[in-house]
């Protein structure tokens, strides 16, 4: 019975989004924890570009045909392989002790990340509910 087929691309995408946003939350809380540490630069995980290229076309973004071929970087071939890159956030105002964390923007990103995470969870729950309803045949 092809059970895997009933979960389309969207469910995978949402699951991956949850994963990546959880990682981003860890980075944001690390930035907030080190807001007073001298010499610390804020870091973030960037995954939107990779998600987009993974969704657009798996076969087009440098798939490998032989196990010993090296995978092309820059675009994930499939949705599972999207890992997200750790990048440094360059802040506009570097403090006198070399600390580069802007607390205000970190709080803003924290709120945005939380809202998007909750929204993804809600949409995912809705998708499963719709599937369950289709299987049951009635409300």
């Amino acid at each position: 019975m092809p059970v895997q087929g009933i979960f389309g691309n969207t469910v995978e995408l949402l699951g991956k989004t949850l994963d990546l946003r959880a990682k981003r939350h860890t980075m944001i809380s690390a930035n907030l924890a080190n807001v007073e540490t001298p010499g610390y630069t804020a870091s973030d995980i960037s995954f939107e570009g990779q998600l987009k290229s993974a969704l657009k076309g798996g076969p087009n973004s440098g798939g490998v045909t032989h196990p010993r071929h090296i995978q092309l970087k820059g675009g994930a071939a499939s949705l599972e392989k999207v890992q997200g890159d750790l990048v440094d956030l360059s802040s506009r105002s570097m403090g006198p002790d070399g600390n580069g964390v802007e607390m205000e923007s970190e709080m803003g990103r924290l709120a945005e990340n939380q809202i998007m995470y909750n929204a993804s969870v809600q949409i995912l729950a809705k998708k499963f509910e719709g599937l369950k309803q289709a299987i049951r045949g009635t409300l």
Binding site: K23, S29, A33, N34, E106, Q122
Partner: protein, 145 residues
Amino acid sequence: MDFFTSMDISASALAAERTRMNLISSNLANVNSTRTAEGGPYRRKDAVFTATPVTEGKSFGAALSRANEARSVQVTQINEDQRPPRLQYEPGHPDADANGYVAYPNINVVEEMADMITASRSYEANITATQAAKSMALKTLDLLR
């Protein structure tokens, strides 16, 4: 990826900021202390924060990638201010030296208040981060409902 790592990081920040607050209150309380157990006037104490990686990497590759990973904060050292104490002319004071000067701690109350506001702001920010992690984890349970 779990939320407990994130909560641990925020908890470490809360502990560090609390240590800092303790030092600040100690500084403010001892602004006029001319004697201490070690002799001499009270010296301003300050905490040194260090960003320490959360996971211990056992391999070379992990050590390389550790530079960008999430790092928690720890108080590694408590500094004593080495600036010379403030001298005030009070010949009748029991701690006056040969010239009649008493050494008072070199603590600027305004500076300490500013530090206190920063510490409290950072503490609140980390509380918000902990609550956000908790709310996200609880919301995930909704998937099962």
